[in-house]
Structure formats: C-alpha cells, structure tokens
Subunit: 314 residues, 2 copies
C-alpha cells in the first residue's frame, strides 16, 4: 500500500435511492482532494447534511450532477442560495445535464434575487465511447463516461493531480545540486548544466505515490463498458440499489444489484468497492455486504457522515 | 373555552428562515382538519420531516405554497415523487404562484417519467383588497390574502367547515321527534310538520362550537391589512424572523420582528399567536418569546414536530 501525504477522501452525505427512508438521505457525496472540496450529486437535504457533518459548503469549488432524477439534484438550488446567504463571493462551477441550468435559473429568477457570486454551468452531453475530460485544476482531473439508466446518466472518474517528486536534500547537498535546480528535479526532469553535466532527478528525488482515483457510478445497469472506464480505480462507488432476489426489478428500473456491483469491481480490478443507493425496502444492509463479498473481497457499505480515505485499508 | 369534538391542529415541520441552522428546517406545516391533511409550504426536507414525525404524506389532500422563495417550496417535487413511489393514486391539489407549476413540470419532465396520480395546479394571483376563497371541502375553507414581501406572497386563513348540531335524544325521544326529522334539526333548521307543528332545532340540539380558524402569515412586513384579515383567529402564525434589535435589517428584508408579530396578534384580538421563521442567527429563541410576550399574552414558539391543537389552552 502506497503512503500518501495529501488528502483524498470521500464523505457520503446520502446513501439511499429515490425514496428517503430508514434515516438515509438521497444521494450526495463530498470529495476532498488536498483539502479542496468537490460535491458529487446533491439530493434534497444535502445542505443540512453538510452542516450536520461540519463540512463547510463555502469550500465547494465544483458540483458534478450525474443525471436529472430529483434524488440527485433537488438539494442544489437550496444550497446555492444558502451559500449566497452565508456571503460566498467565490465562483462555483456546476457540471450537469443541460436541463439543470434551465431549472436552476428559473428557480433563482422566481426568487427575484441575484446571487452575489458567479456560477458557471457546464452542460454535460452523452459521451459515447470512452471518457471525456470535463474538469482539471491543481488538485483533480475529472473524466465523465456514459452509464445506462432510464434517462441519460454519467459516471465520473476523479483522479488526483500529479504531485511533485520529493527532493532528497541529504543526497543533493553533498553532490552540489544548486537551489535553482531543485524545482526542475521535483518535476521529474533531469537538469543539463551548461558544461554538459547531467543531474538525474532519479538520483536526488523519490517519486510521488501514483495518483489515486475515485470512480463514481450511479444510477445504472451493470455495464461491460464501466469495467473499462474504472479499470484499476483506487475506490469504486457503484450503486447497488437491490439484492439479487430483486434482480428482475433491478433490471426493469435500470439499476444494479450488490452482486453485479461486485462483479464490476472484480473485473475492473479496483482496490476497493463502496456500495450505495439502497432501495428504501432494505432496513438493514448486511445482506448487501454479504452478497457483494462473495464476489469481491474489499467491500464497504456507504455510511452517511463517515469519511472514507481513498487508498487506505478498508 | 369551547370544547371541540373534531381535530384541528397544526404540526410545524420547519421553523427556520431561508438558511437551515441550529437543527431547524425551512418552512413547512401540516394542518390536520378532522383527520384530513393539508400541507402549508414545503421547504427542502419536508418529506423527511413528515417521515420523522410519522405523518403519512399520502394523506395530504392539498398543498398551499405562499411564495416562490426556495425555503418555502424546494421540498415539493421530491415529495410529489415520493408519493408516486409509495403508490399514490389519489389526486393532489397544489395552490401556489404561477411559476410553481412551470418549475415543477420541468422537473418532472426532466426525470422522464409520469406520476401515476393526477396533480391539479391552481395558480394564485395577487388578491388586492380583502380575501379570496381559494378552496373548500367538507373539512376546511381556505382564504388567501396579500402579504408584503420582496416578491408576491400570500397569507392563508384556514377555517373549519361548519359542523352539525348535536341531537339530544334524551329530549327528542320523549317529545316524539321522528327519525327522519333528526338530520334536519342537526343542520340547525326547524321542522314544520304537515299539521303545522313546529319542531324547533334549538329545543332538541346543542349548537356546534364556532368554527376555529388558523391564520398563516409568512413572509411579510407587519401590515395593518393583516390585522383585518386575521381578526379574531383562533391561532395566528405570524413570522418573526428577527428581534427588535435587528429591526432595520427586518424592514430591509421585508420581514417582521417578534414584537411586530405580537402587535398584530393584539390588534387582531386573536386567541393565540405562534412565532416562527427564525433567522439562523438565533440559536436560542427565549428572547423571541419574551419580546412578543410583552405585547401579547398567549404566545408560543413553533417547535418542530410538536402538534398544536388549535383552540386548546397554550
């Protein structure tokens, strides 16, 4: 297991499917990448859940909405409004289906006011084959890919930005590495001096841990294409609305069972799988864990308010 | 104090203003009239609050939305969808500003499905002077009237339907009142027999208690017109977003203070006043109670989940 110096975690704010029940909320997750916040889906009550778990909504830089079923976005405009009331001035990016902007703007217009911070809506269309890079900043890179649900729906792959190599002063100092050469070495590049001497970065740095990835897949039928898109992910979140005994119902409603989620995890050789988007019919979730565990060893249930460190043993 | 044989109560589901905080939710109230449910406003999280307090959303016959600020309706479409998922087939009436229908239908369309029960939207326009009857069934009559907020906003007056007189069998029996005459007497009408004999309803029945009224006023500046519209109400809910020390802020934002709410209650000679729609800045609400109590004796704070029996001593 690699050791990581930066934060890369996800906190589940809502773990249920369309009908909130059993104390579980509609879908929302907060991704923390190097202490920068990104929100994935925003079901009704997300702003209250953020407050409950002491996660400051003002720190959210971007929101990613998978599809236009209400349990994945009905909390959005309330949160936007609360950010305004709390004095937000920093811009916010919102990625989602084209109708999201129209609906949100109608709601904001009907309220007769303007938000005091800028919002940029980025409409996400169907990707087709492969994945699309939709966002990149200093902390993460986000790719979208198609899932298969009753209406267009996207999965997201969040990849940590490449980090610098660690400079080994105890080696570089005695060898005469100059201060201005260090940033180049930390970028993983060799320095060639004017006299032709080559200072190899491999001799004076250790490489960063490989970037971790978080794959987010809900709502969807189990897909072979998902196996490709999430290949080797550090953590895969795959919906498991149903158990195998409701397999027929699961297929009819374009959802997955816990077993099917685990099959994807196994085939994609991810490090760990997190289940979620549970049907309201399930009070206890032990069976989900058992069913998935028969297919794949490293499985956890999503649990509201619990922060999962991506890449740490589960 | 009259004694009442039928239920007329209100359960507050959300007592805070726009920013949910201090464990308090955005505005929603459930009115129970003779065990029929009517929802007043539907802020984000209303469906979860209904579930928390074991109030079945399927029993709601009509929804009344005061205005288009999100903290008064962002929970609506989520609740509509959950009613569908729970198998509702009974029609639902929704009264609210004209934009409400457009926004709700866009959200339902974007979800790509149809609800399996019929919804009738009734657009409420500005009333002007006086009040408008907007709804009537066997249990309640609802009037709307104008409030004054940053955007158009309506108050609602809920009046119990007239109930029957109580027939006194111990008097009617010995006097020879016939079975077929009883329903007439219970309607408060005399019976005139073919031979000219008059059976007076007053001799064989006791009158029902006078219909109770529940007046709902949020969000609004304090208004002289409100005094007229809620005159003599059994229970007045009047917003008290602020305390007097924030009076300037209250006026700027078209809200009321606890003192102003109590002044309306006193002038309108209502039986009792319930405060609510508290600003997130107030953790404890004792000061609201004290400030209003200096103007008007019968004051209660709205408290989420507590059922207030309208007309019972507070």
């Amino acid at each position: 297991m690699a050791s990581y110096s930066t934060k890369f975690s996800v906190t589940v704010l809502g773990s249920n499917s369309a009908l909130p029940a059993n104390g579980r909320h509609p879908t929302a997750q907060l991704l923390n990448a190097n202490n920068h916040y990104y929100l994935i889906d925003c079901g009704e009550g997300t702003q209250m859940q953020l407050r409950r778990y002491n996660l400051k909504m003002q720190r959210i830089k971007a929101v990613f909405v998978s599809h236009m079923h209400g349990d994945h976005y009905f909390g959005l405009v309330g949160m936007l409004n609360s950010q305004h009331l709390l004095g937000r001035t920093k811009p916010l990016k919102i990625f989602g289906p084209p109708q999201l902007q129209q609906i949100a703007e109608l709601q904001l217009d009907a309220a007769g006011g303007r938000l005091q911070y800028p919002i940029e809506f980025i409409a996400l269309e169907k990707v087709g084959e492969g994945t699309n890079e939709i966002f990149r900043d200093k902390h993460i890179i986000v790719h979208a890919f198609d899932l298969k649900h009753r209406i267009p729906c996207l999965g997201f792959l969040f990849t940590e930005a490449e980090r610098e190599h660690t400079y080994l002063a105890e080696k570089g100092g005695p060898a005469g590495v100059k201060i201005e050469e260090i940033p180049v070495l930390k970028q993983g590049m060799d320095v060639v001096r004017e006299d032709g001497t080559v200072i190899r970065f491999e001799d004076f740095t250790t490489p960063p841990a490989p970037p971790r990835t978080y794959a987010y897949c809900t709502d969807t039928l189990p897909l072979e294409s998902t196996v490709e898109h999430v290949k080797g992910a550090t953590l895969l979140y795959h919906e498991s609305t149903f158990l195998e005994k409701e397999k027929k119902r699961s297929k009819e409603t374009f959802h997955s069972t816990a077993k099917q989620a685990a099959e994807i995890a196994r085939k994609a050789e991810v490090e760990a799988l997190m289940l979620g988007h549970y049907s309201a019919r399930y009070g206890e979730l032990d069976e989900h864990l058992v069913e998935a565990g028969e297919e794949f060893a490293s499985v956890i249930l999503s649990e509201e308010g619990k922060e999962v460190e991506i890449g740490s043993p589960i």
